[in-house]
């Protein structure tokens, strides 16, 4: 028995060391989310969906911020719509010692809607099981919680160099900005990607049951919570006209709702949708690098003037 435990223990120790070794290699190229859950707590945050994650570039906003630097803590429509899970995750990520932070909350119809049959059925919200809820330590490096329970690829991808899908390469910057680069020789034409995205989102639309008052109340609670630590801004990023049409089908009075909310909570609502044709998109709803830069500079200027 002793011999069995000794040999098995030794063997398992070597295996565990190997596993830990691989986990220690996880970095900003492991996936689009991991590194954001390993950096220190932050005083200023950009929150929202993948549109904000890759559209709002903190380096341009930071040029205008005197003290604290803003960090892009936005993830995706699926993992971090406004709700209990994301609010808790934001609370965990926030450095509560600072009181003059800047908080940009990106909003769009998807992140205040629900895929449950009853849009108020918060017990069955999908994000209840996402890393936003599961990962309790959002500044641990390496983040074992994320790697063990939430990482949804094979661990060999940690060893492979880049986050690469068929057409795109992704890199998460130190400030949380998710840079997406098209591999030119493999890239389909914009028109093809655009039509595929529109087709996909038309299908996704059918899975949504509509606006969720529960999610809106969580957005409200998120704003109120962050206002205790600084100034908040609501931002709607632009999307292509076809995507806008889909979003209007999901929530037709989205802008009215956001304006009411901004008035109620005394926070500014910056709506870029008015000039949506001025910008370029990589897939109809994510801004390309150049347009992201323009918008980030505009937001920065706006913050400075206020």
């Amino acid at each position: 028995m002793k011999e069995f435990i000794k040999t098995t223990g030794l063997f398992l120790s070597v295996c565990i060391i190997t596993v830990l070794g691989v986990f220690y290699l996880a970095d900003n190229r492991t996936d689009e989310y991991y590194v954001k859950l390993t950096t220190p707590k932050q005083s200023s945050l950009i929150v929202g969906s993948s549109r904000a994650a890759q559209g709002i570039q903190p380096q341009y906003i930071n040029l205008q911020l005197s003290n604290e630097k803003i960090y892009n803590y936005a993830f995706s429509r699926v993992h971090t719509p406004y709700g209990k899970a994301y609010l808790n995750s934001i609370k965990r990520k926030l450095n509560k010692q600072s009181k003059d932070g800047v908080f940009i909350l990106e909003v769009n119809p998807w992140v205040i809607s629900s895929q449950t049959k009853n849009p108020e059925d918060s017990l069955n919200f999908k994000d209840n099981n996402s890393f936003a809820e599961v990962v309790k330590c959002v500044n641990c490096n390496p983040n074992f919680e994320y790697l063990i329970y939430c990482y949804d690829k094979s661990y060999r991808h940690i060893l492979l160099d880049k986050i690469k899908t068929k057409n795109i390469k992704t890199n998460v910057d130190v400030n949380g900005w998710c840079e997406v680069e098209f591999l030119k020789n493999k890239t389909d034409s914009f028109d093809k990607i655009h039509s595929q995205t529109i087709k996909r989102y038309s299908q996704i639309l059918n899975k949504y049951s509509g606006v969720s008052e529960t999610r809106i109340s969580y957005l409200e609670r998120t704003i109120k919570y962050l206002q205790q630590y600084g100034t908040t801004y609501l931002v709607r990023l632009p999307v292509s006209t076809e995507m806008l049409e889909i979003e209007n089908q999901l929530i037709s009075d989205f802008d009215v709702r956001m304006e009411n909310l901004s008035n109620k909570l005394n926070t500014e609502y910056i709506n870029f949708m008015m000039n949506n044709e001025k910008y370029n998109y990589i897939d109809s709803h994510h801004l390309d690098k150049k347009s992201g830069e323009q918008i980030s500079k505009y937001i920065a200027e706006h913050i400075k003037n206020n």
Partner: protein, 478 residues
């Protein structure tokens, strides 16, 4: 609790150490620990359904004791049928209630009458099909006087709920497993190491083979209208490996875990994809279920005795019931029926017991005839699996229809090179180890211990680095 979860990785060593510490105390302490551990294991999923297991245990324990005291045939029959009706009643309610209601409503609407459907939102208790059959085997064997009823309620509770095989088998016979709870278990080093080796191979099958295949088979089956024939064929082949890796992997982990505790469970899979005909396939696939149906349904129906028509009827009954056991959906019934059709020519021409030995037993490679037999059998099972995997019969027929067009000769749109390589290595190891109870049992024993340990280490690293996205064990839903 899943075998491939962190929870189980913590649970198992704790129970293992406690169990062998209790070795110095009377046997009932070890059995009691197994009962508690098994209830924790099951309750981890949903503690409310523990009541069902406890109820089933107490009913069959009491009926067993009553059967011993009752001599009148009619009274004995009554007791037996009480047990069958209660056990099958639970199974029927939780698993088949909605199926029967839906089909009843459909049948009535077909004849022009609309009736109100009263389906319920029923959660299927994990493993109910497995432990129900296990407890039934006890009562039937006691009724047939093949087995002495137990007076030890703890041993019986441990037999019913034994955690390694509680939720997805193998379905153990009371005649094999129950007596093992009466004897003091002694720790045996080589047995335990064998157990670990089998667990390792089970994890490889589940995490590397099944979970990776699942990723691609799910993608292809869920979007089958978008793909070429060759891709659809690949999707069906991936599913064949997924279900084999998933289910036989679970069985390996279950048998290996049992060995760590000094128990010997029956082999559940004997390299079925190396079968040369369908009859051989069914002697090698899910052996514990096939033999259960053989002993408790097929033989009482007359088995292979009687006229040809009787034999054919019995074969169809057994395959259809087996299909229905898998789930409350017509797809499973058609899957069973299709396998019966495959079996039929072998039965009619008395060829169903031709291949009873191990393929290429004395040589390294199969003969051309054996190879062709294996290939055809595999192809037939792959086609049948399409029914098993599809959401509806019309989907399955459509899938099969799309399989046979000119694009079968084109390159599949999905070509995961790493998975092809892993499957090749997997088939190779299984082929080399086909004469054993599981592939890893003996194949590297001739090498010195450090070399063996290094090979096992490589397998662990492969599981870790090449494991697919975690999927629930398919057979949990049965």
């Amino acid at each position: 609790m899943f075998f491939n979860s962190i929870d189980f990785a913590i649970f198992l060593p704790i129970v293992f150490v406690l169990y062998w510490i209790l070795q110095r105390y009377p046997l009932k302490f070890q059995n009691f620990l197994i009962v508690i551990a098994s209830y924790v294991f099951y309750g981890w999923w949903d503690y409310r359904f523990l009541a069902l297991i406890v109820f089933s245990t107490l009913i069959d324990y009491s009926i067993g004791l009553r059967l011993q005291k009752t001599k009148k045939l009619n009274d004995r029959k009554l007791l037996l049928w009480t047990s069958i009706l209660i056990n099958i009643g639970f199974l029927g309610f939780f698993k088949y209630y909605n199926f029967f209601v839906d089909n009843f409503v459909t049948a009535f609407s077909f004849f022009g009458s609309e009736i109100q459907s009263n389906t319920l939102n029923i959660i299927l208790p994990v493993g109910i099909s497995f432990y129900t059959f296990q407890t039934l085997s006890y009562t039937i064997d006691v009724y047939r006087e093949k087995l002495e009823p137990t007076k030890d309620v703890i041993a019986f509770a441990a037999f019913v709920s034994f955690f390694p095989q509680l939720v997805a088998g193998p379905i153990e016979r009371a005649t094999n497993l129950l007596p093992q709870f009466y004897i003091k278990r002694q720790f045996n080093y080589s047995n335990a190491v064998d157990g670990l080796r089998q667990i390792l191979w089970g994890l490889f099958k589940k995490i590397v083979i099944a979970d990776n295949c699942a990723q691609f088979s799910n993608l292809i089956f869920d979007n089958y209208t978008d793909y070429s024939s060759s891709t659809l064929m690949l999707g069906a082949v991936f599913f064949a490996f997924q279900i084999y890796g998933d289910f036989s992997g679970y069985s390996d982990i279950a048998i290996g875990t049992s060995r760590l505790f000094g128990f010997d469970l029956k082999q559940n899979f004997a390299f079925p994809y190396f079968s040369r005909d369908i009859a051989e396939f069914w002697r090698r696939w899910h052996i514990s279920l096939s033999t259960w149906f053989r002993d408790y349904v097929y033989i009482p129906l007359g088995g292979s005795r009687g006229s040809k028509w009787h034999q054919i009827r019995n074969v169809f009954i057994i395959f259809l019931v087996s299909g229905f056991w898998h789930g409350a959906n017509w797809t499973f019934i058609v899957w069973g029926g299709l396998n019966a059709l495959y079996f039929l020519p072998l039965l009619i021409f008395k060829r169903n017991r031709v291949n009873t030995n191990i393929v290429a037993e004395e040589s390294k490679l199969p003969s051309f005839k054996e190879f062709c037999g294996m290939l055809i059998t595999f192809f037939l099972t792959v086609i049948a699996w399409i029914f098993f995997r599809s959401n509806s019969i019309s989907d399955a027929i459509d899938y099969i229809y799309k399989l046979f067009d000119i694009t079968i000769f084109s390159l599949p749109e999905i070509r995961p090179t790493f998975l092809f390589l892993l499957l090749f290595i997997f088939i190779l190891i299984e082929w080399v180890g086909r004469r054993n109870l599981f592939a890893l049992e003996k194949i590297w024993l001739k090498y010195p211990r450090p070399v063996r340990l290094f090979i096992y280490y490589l397998i662990v690293v492969t599981i870790f680095l090449y494991g697919g996205k975690e999927q629930e064990f398919i057979y949990f839903q049965f």
